[in-house]
Amino acid sequence: MEGSTQDNVISALKEKYEDQILHMDTPYNFLTISLKKEKIVEIIQYLYNHPDTKLQYLTTLCGIHYPELNQIAVMYQLHNLATNTRVRLKIFLSAENPVTPTITPIFSGANWLERETYDFYGVNFVGHPNLKRILNVEDMIIFPLRKEYPLEDQRREDKNDTMFGR
């Protein structure tokens, strides 16, 4: 059952966007597809409308920073509530200037998730209705979840590093 619905997604995707697929895998029985970044919104719209897939529920969306590759991945997790098919789509953007179009016209729920990804990683979602920081203060200049930024506040003076190693 699980396998067959996943096959539907794969065949539907291969039908039209075979050239866009970079990598496909099912870790822990969860279909994960890495895609080229150019047509991601088109593909999500296609999977939303396609009668075999109907991935019409956005479970989550997040960024992942890969410092060695100097890339930021954006992960979209879609769900078909009728057949219980879950799919994870990934695109990879350059860390210097991560830009990708928004999916808010398809999913209203992506609005804050994209803002959060912008806040944490600086991914610029083109066409987003209100792309500004959501959790952090607006005058923050760093993107805190990127690996190069430390967790702790660097302006603390009361912590003695010789006694409590960080």
């Binding site: 959790l135 952090n136 930024y149 430390p150 967790l151 702790e152 506040d153 603390r156 009361d158």
Partner: protein
Amino acid sequence: MESTSIQQGVTIGTKPEGYEGAGFFATSLDKVVGLARKNSIWPLPFATSCCGIEFMATMASHYDLARFGSERLSFSPRQADLLMVMGTIAKKMGPILRQVYEQMAEPRWVISVGACACSGGIFDTYSVLQGIDRIIPVDVYVPGCPPRPEQIIDGILKIQHLVETESLRRRDSDEYKAMLNKYGME
């Protein structure tokens, strides 16, 4: 007059030191005011997270804060005597907390409930204020993550002791003004 057994067991407040005679009782004004204030504190709950839920339990029927004369919550800072800061204060929230404190009228007391409010707790991160005493003066700290309702009540009793024994002139003293100036307040 014969009193019932329930009335015998109840003490409304301990009588302060003073001189007593037929029909009169003389004591200092400090002590009378302290006694009155102590048993009618209006807290302003500044509940942000988990500790706020434990405060709800403290307020509710099981632990019943009303026993200590503090059941009247004042959500307006202008009428409140006691600011109860419960939960993590993020840097984004810091200026608001300070504004609330500045809006309160003297005399005012602050109790910091929970590890996060006292020191930042486990959240030693870029977004969390490492203890509210960096922006406002604090009278009583209640440790715990979150503290049990009994601990919160204990903190309130400590505040009551401070209120009772505070001199009426303390808020006009130079030390107090210097302390406020340290926080950049008038």
